[in-house]
Symmetry: C2
Subunit: 368 residues, 2 copies
């Protein structure tokens, strides 16, 4: 084990565990009045609790924590538990996003388990209840996602931090949710339109990954520590750049990733028909070079349910030959450099600067 940075604190080393602990406590507290009111509420409350505690990298609370630490938040101070509550609430927003996303995408499984709408539909069928099991599953997923969104606010605003601090983070907190929903909407719209535009794909990455996952969590954490405008601006710039770089690396892994490392089938993004920047770039270059046959082949793999190994191989070769891979790799490098420059200019309290730098490097170079 690498020795921890001298200035680091035990919580720094075990953030996902701490976040899970705090979530467990607050989900119990939030569920209690509902369980007491009516035993039937145990079902949706348990479903949400299991979903939230069942996994996830706790990325958003982690960025919020480092935003707070970087702006001088002191984990040995009296407010640490309250701060952990505030940043852990971001996992409930993410739970809403995922439960509703699975419903909108008609996905059957997540993390190897049935999605919420599938599971509630199954319970309806098993019990032999009246009406449509599918519609009951839909209702379960809609309401559990709504509950997650409502409870996120409850955790954030009632975490016990001084009201003035919460008020200073409120604009970022509210903007984050609008950006998340806007990103989801643009994603749905872009798929429906069959858009091949690089701009549209990039815009989704900017909202869903950069703003919602990185920049706003950093912003919220820093604001909760009382950061000034210039520190927040530098962190947001870092988040905006590194967030898109993360997503571009994801796009690359979605086509070129090794199933043994990513845990997903080879070429999974092609099979799912994802409108990524990588793919949009490939089609853009094919058009610019009048290579219509190649563009047609590339399009034919998109959303193809029975994608063969040969198809994946051919798609990879096309994306390399057309120059899309080079372009995306170049963009990742540029975004990472500009992100790290913004980070260096922020002058964060250590070890936050070092840790964010390490997160940035790991995520843009990662293989899974």
């Amino acid at each position: 084990m690498v020795p921890a940075h001298p200035a680091s604190h035990p919580i720094d080393e075990q953030l996902p565990t701490e976040v899970a602990r705090v979530l467990r406590t607050h989900l119990t507290r939030l569920g209690e009045p509902l369980r007491t009111t009516e035993p039937s509420f145990a079902d949706p409350v348990d479903a949400l609790t299991d979903f939230v505690l069942g996994g996830g990298k706790r990325l958003r609370p982690t960025f919020a924590w480092w935003g707070w630490r970087g702006a001088g938040g002191d984990p040995t101070g009296p407010d640490t538990e309250q701060l952990l509550c505030a940043v852990s609430s971001l996992e409930l927003i993410q739970a809403c996003a995922l439960v509703h996303d699975d419903l909108m995408d008609s996905s059957d499984t997540r993390r190897g388990a049935p999605t919420v709408h599938i599971e509630f539909g199954r319970r309806h069928r098993e019990a032999g209840w009246l009406g449509s099991a599918e519609q009951y599953g839909l209702a379960g997923a809609v309401l559990i996602g709504d509950l997650a969104l409502a409870w996120a606010d409850d955790m954030f605003y009632r975490c016990g931090l001084p009201e003035a601090r919460l008020a200073s983070a409120a604009p970022a907190w509210h903007a984050m949710r609008s950006e998340m929903l806007a990103g989801q909407y643009l994603d749905v719209l872009t798929q429906a339109r069959g858009s091949e535009s690089v701009d549209a794909a990039l815009r989704i990455d900017q909202l869903k990954t950069a703003a919602y996952t990185v920049a706003r969590p950093l912003h919220i954490g820093a604001a909760l520590a009382g950061a000034d405008e210039s520190l927040i601006a530098a962190l947001r710039q870092f988040g905006a750049d590194i967030g898109v770089a993360f997503q571009l690396r994801d796009d690359m892994l979605g086509v070129f990733g090794d199933p043994a490392v990513t845990g997903k089938p080879a070429g999974d993004d092609l099979r799912e028909g994802k409108r990524t920047v990588l793919l949009a770039r490939g089609l853009e270059y094919a058009a610019a070079k009048n290579r219509d046959a190649e563009a047609r082949r590339l399009r034919s793999y998109l959303g193809k349910a029975e994608l063969t190994e040969q198809d994946v191989f051919d798609a990879r070769q096309l994306l390399v030959e057309l120059g899309a891979v080079d372009a995306v790799e170049r963009q990742i490098t540029e975004l990472t450099e500009s992100a790290l420059a913004a980070l260096a200019s922020a002058g964060l309290a250590e070890p936050a600067g070092e840790r964010l730098r390490a997160l940035a490097m790991a995520a843009t170079k990662r293989e899974s």
Copy 2:
């Protein structure tokens, strides 16, 4: 026109107009950053704005306003606009509830217009986009409802009232949303189970109408005026009782109402198969009196799409003969009396006491 009470203020007389004005201002403010980010967001933002401004009795803001006035809130003071913003935010929670409810119920129209999921499905079909129009409509409704829920918090917490006041109303604000969602869930579950229990029907009324529509809005308003525990307890008691009485009156109108007055077809609750207290009481009494044939006839009308005039007539007669109508009328009277006693004990600042009394009388005696 009846002269206004000497202590009344112009806003007291035109609450729905004031609420609509404030909602318009804030929906514009909240939508602006999204419109600027991406022109496509105009669609969901406009859809939500039109939905919220398109109608509704503004019941929840009205109760919150009178809770505030009753606890000494002064409309000539400097905080009135901020208070109107806080109480108007309740309409956004209601927008989420209705948009998601229409989706869960597969309702095609609301207030004579297509529901959100139907409208977004239509746009998809008209544009000839890829994928399922129905699934696109579903996504539109899920995201627009989520946006309403997120914006409700934004309006409430950023209304500009002193942070300590918001903090004192926060527990009620959060409880209200859990109660609304719990009520919706119990409603879906009760329909699926085909429950005939009076208790289950009453529990839904307590959550959806009493707590969510009356008691919590009164509580929030009073807390925003700095009310003490005993005043809040009296208002909540009033709300809990009168809210159920409202719903029982609604149940009566849903079977016995005159279409010319209610604006809905005769016996509409029967056609929709609603599991009301009235109906559950009818079945309970039929069982107690071993009148199986009557119970079977009553059940046969529930959810019957081609309900005839004769069916409605027979159902009405059955509910009267079985004693369900008398029982429900008695319960309305008792609840109204106990609500008015709680109101009298609250010692509200006038004209709030008088107005709440008038609202209670009108709603429990109303014909539409």
